[in-house]
Symmetry: C2
Subunit: 122 residues, 2 copies
DNA sequence: CCGAATCCTAAATGATACTG
DNA sequence: CAGTATCATTTAGGATTCGG
């Protein structure tokens, strides 16, 4: 099974942000060691090639990933977490864990809330 | 000083998400006890009334906040964290702490990355 | 005091096809 | 293998105005 990413983090700077919808999946996957582009593509279910690229670029720009290109044929590119990213790893796991523990509660809360609104407009 | 929210979390469900740009600020503020709408408006710097309302509704729908209306004049509304939200509190603080510790690193990473791209296109 | 309604812009995401 | 380019849709966010 691919990494499911039940949570998403975005970190702000005055004008910028880190990451998008797939950031957690990428960072968690890369935390255990360097990962290749195609490996990420396989492990993160549902991500498009374009979004993977964009998220990788953003994470690299933020200093969370390092991109290493091996000038071989065929090309090989590895993404490695920086120290900074590894410091975040445990927190990300907490987030994922929390979301996993409570996904059913959240679904129930949705249903209850929506039911309330429906009866209100009836 | 208002709560600054250097980080932003969004939590996913199959089809939905929790929270937006201001979620952390709101949840952190509400974790210490019930907060009123206008209090949040004051403590979360830069938030518009509309976005505060929308984020509160979303958090309520996700089961992270409970909204209590006191039918007084003038009206009084309090938002309280649920158990589920309190379980997330520590993780959110970690996130905020991490972002605070590394904001300078991130800024440097941005600058370095952008400088690299500039020389690449030159 | 606590919103809702409307209008608008920018950003994120996705599908698809092409390339060194 | 590891991307880019282009096009389209969806969503988030902000400004402003109105109401119970």
């Amino acid at each position: 099974m691919g990494v499911d990413h039940p949570a998403q983090v975005r970190l702000r700077e005055p004008q910028d942000r880190v990451a998008g919808k797939w950031a957690i999946g990428i960072l968690v996957a890369a935390a255990q060691g360097p990962v290749r582009f195609s490996e990420l593509e396989r492990r993160i279910e549902g991500i498009s090639r374009r979004m993977l690229t964009l998220n990788l670029r953003k994470l690299e720009r933020e200093g969370l990933l390092v991109r290493t290109v091996y000038p071989t044929v065929p090309p090989k590119v590895e993404y490695t977490c920086t120290e900074m990213a590894l410091e975040l790893h445990e927190t990300l796991l907490s987030l994922v864990s929390w979301a996993g523990r409570h996904s059913a509660d959240i679904a129930r809360a949705h249903a209850a809330y929506d039911a309330g609104r429906a009866s209100a407009s009836a």
